[in-house]
């Protein structure tokens, strides 16, 4: 079986990938079997980076590449409807769909070790 280092990318309605200056880059999935590629969007949770201004536009589907930049896609999936990936979101391919993640973070330091009543 042939293996490749796979990279997941997104494409827009104009056939191009989103602009790198807005935070886009292909996500490396590591080494995968060629025959496993069709299952990747369902099997893996693929998280892209934070989207910065001006956003990534209307994303129409995903591609798999065997290089981090350039080259032609090895596999393509189209979305039933394009998704507007705008600034401030985190695109996630989750169970075969493109969702817009938003970041939750909390740093909970319990003040003093003798009680949990004071929480910052």
């Amino acid at each position: 079986m042939r293996k490749i280092t796979a990279y997941m990318g997104l494409f827009r309605g104009d056939g191009a990938e989103p602009p790198r200056e807005s935070g886009y880059e292909r996500v490396c999935l590591g080494e995968v079997e060629i025959l496993d590629i069709p299952a990747l969007p369902v099997r893996e949770q693929i998280v892209f980076g934070d989207v910065t201004a001006p956003g990534w536009g209307l994303v129409s589907g995903f591609w798999v590449f065997d290089q981090a930049e350039g080259g032609g896609p090895l596999y393509i999936w189209g979305l039933p409807e394009p998704v507007n990936v705008h600034e401030g979101t985190i695109p996630v391919i989750y169970q075969g769909r493109l969702l817009l993640g938003i970041d939750v973070s909390a740093n909970i330091i319990l003040e003093s070790a003798n009680t949990a009543e004071t929480i910052t």
Partner: protein, 134 residues
């Protein structure tokens, strides 16, 4: 004289109370210190309490999520989320045992997935209280 737990005891306290089956909860109101006034999104909006999953204690006296956590996919607008809680039960509305303000409030619209990246939910004990023992 400084007071506090040793770092190993502090870690033991954290890991005995927060496990992989501890549930993450979200609130749109400011909870009280007893855990009341914790207003969670509606179940019909797709909201669930999500297990925190694998944890790491790579930093002494702190515990953090060791994997990305996808909390839920919003099927409708859920408004502004300002606080997070931890609970032993996945039953929406049951008591939480720890509450905290989010670093930044979130506006959760339909189609959004609140998520917590690895090591972004950090619970710890005040380092100053542990310094004599660190």
């Amino acid at each position: 004289m400084a007071e506090g737990f040793t770092t190993s005891k502090a870690t033991e306290i954290l890991t005995s109370n927060i496990t992989t089956k501890t549930y993450i909860c979200l609130s749109s109101t400011t909870p009280t210190k007893t855990g009341s006034n914790f207003s969670e999104p509606a179940e019909k909006a797709g909201y669930v309490r999500k297990p925190i999953g694998p944890l790491n204690t790579s930093i002494a006296a702190q515990i953090a999520n060791d994997e990305i956590v996808f909390i839920f996919e919003a099927l409708e607008d859920c408004g502004s989320i300002t606080h997070l809680g931890l609970a032993d039960s996945n039953v929406i509305g049951s008591k939480v045992f720890l509450v905290a303000k989010l670093t930044n409030p979130l506006t959760v619209g339909a189609g959004y997935v609140p998520l917590i990246r690895k090591n972004k939910l950090v619970i710890g004990l005040d380092k100053e209280a542990l310094e004599p023992y660190a």
